[in-house]
Amino acid sequence: MNRKGPRLGEPASLWRMRVVPVATVMVASALPLTLPLIANSPVLPPLGLLFFLCWQLLRTEMWPVWVGLPLGLWDDLFSGAPIGTAVGLWTLASIAIAYSSQRIYWRGFFHDWAIAALLVAIIQALAALIAHPHAAHGHVLGLVVPQIIISALLVPLFLRLTGKFDNFRLKRR
């Protein structure tokens, strides 16, 4: 019997199942700081946050509800926001998704889109307010509005991408 080759019907490796979602969020968080782009305003959507939300909407029970603590800390190191902002806000978003998945029993595509867009809007607005407590609130919120609109429009794309990564994650050997 050949012990080295893959066996028929064998599930995906546990290692890959655990690492792929975390790695996509971490790479997406760090990606904006590897691009040669000197931005004059928040022009890129929060890539790490979008992947974080999409993974949880796609696989609600894959992560424990506190997973936003380490992933948020990683995002804070690269996003430029005060350290701790994403730690708090991302974890609250996880709790909100867990709650919504209990209330809305069969979530559809448009539910997912609406939840992700709403959470991105709330998180980016609160993060901007925390970062600039002394500036005029209306002006600070105006800064992130274009980014929130772009992010809301990109949610379906990120849900698709997350689905592709999920297929890779669960691919049988």
Binding site: P32, L33, P36, N40, V43, T60, P82, T91, Q102, W106
Partner: protein, 299 residues
């Protein structure tokens, strides 16, 4: 469609406790995180080291991507130059004749200036930059405008040093790591620069708007003296930015001041210099070496 979640742990005590514990960890962690965020707003220096250390990781990638796209955009520019060669040639010739005329006028002024300075025995202070580097990348997903500079403590870059490009002021160093450092750009909402109008020395404050523009406010609120086209330079007040660095040009008047655009666009600037902060000991240190130089002609 997402599968319904099975959040009810059933009769198992262990499952019930672990779910409860996960929520307790999440809520306490979230509250602690938000408190930490407020702390790091109040005291940004303490946490800046942590951030700059993590950016040492992405800096090598940013260096590579910058060098690659830099050459690509160079190709783009040279293609564009071929396409518009005719009109460009005419325009440049016109500019050249104008510039020649101005140069003649300026050179006589320069000579006069030199003689006046010699008369007053003014010392030429050392204006050389501490180090020269380039901006690698910047935050682009949050409302903070922080850029990554390709120099760190290895070249003597320290927090609080001003950074300028050829066209004007870029910002100041917020924190420095071993080989990279963070620059708070001029356009950040929290960056306030004391400026004066170049034409008459009218003092004002430039405050970033976070979207690439600057708010200019006069210290005297009785009237609004700005008009489009006014050039603003640093005044040296406050002791961080050296005086007479170009900062911005006024675009239009506003109710309580003016809207200005920075003269140096950090997105387009190629090389930047890190300057010494304009503090009393630095000013003296620059002034002292000049008189101690031996006069020419001593044996």
């Amino acid at each position: 469609m997402a599968r319904p979640a099975h959040h009810r742990p059933g009769q198992s005590r262990k499952a019930q406790y672990s779910l409860f514990a996960a929520y307790v960890i999440a809520v306490t962690g979230a509250v602690a995180g938000l408190l930490l965020a407020i702390l790091s707003v109040v005291d940004p220096v303490g946490f800046a080291q942590l951030r700059v250390a993590s950016q040492e990781i992405t800096a090598p990638v940013a260096r590579v991507t910058r060098s690659v796209t830099g050459s690509i955009s160079g190709i783009d520019d040279s293609v564009g130059a071929y396409v518009s060669a005719g009109s460009q040639n005419r325009r440049l010739r016109k500019e050249l004749t104008e510039t020649r005329r101005k140069l003649v006028a300026t050179s006589s002024l320069q000579e006069e200036n030199r003689q006046l300075k010699a008369l007053l025995k003014l010392q030429e202070t050392d204006k050389s930059a501490l180090a020269n580097g380039y901006l690698l990348t910047s935050t682009s997903t949050s409302s903070k405008r922080l850029a990554l500079l390709s120099l760190g403590r290895n070249l003597g870059v320290m927090a609080g040093q001003p950074v300028r490009g050829a066209d004007g002021l870029i910002g100041r160093v917020l924190s420095s790591g071993p080989s990279v450092s963070q620059v708070l750009l001029l356009t950040d909402v929290d960056n306030i620069v004391p400026v004066r109008r170049a034409s008459d020395g009218l003092p004002a404050l430039a405050n970033g708007r976070g979207n690439g523009d600057l708010d200019i406010r006069t210290l005297n609120i009785a009237n609004n003296p700005f008009k489009p086209g006014d050039i603003l330079v640093t005044s040296g007040t406050g002791g961080l930015y050296p005086p007479n660095i170009p900062v911005a040009i006024v675009v239009r008047r506003q109710d309580d001041g003016a809207l200005a655009r920075p003269l140096a666009d950090p997105g387009k600037v190629d090389a930047v210099s890190v300057l010494r902060p304009y503090t009393p000991d630095n000013i003296e240190a620059q002034a002292i070496p000049a008189p101690t130089a031996p006069p020419a002609g001593t044996p």
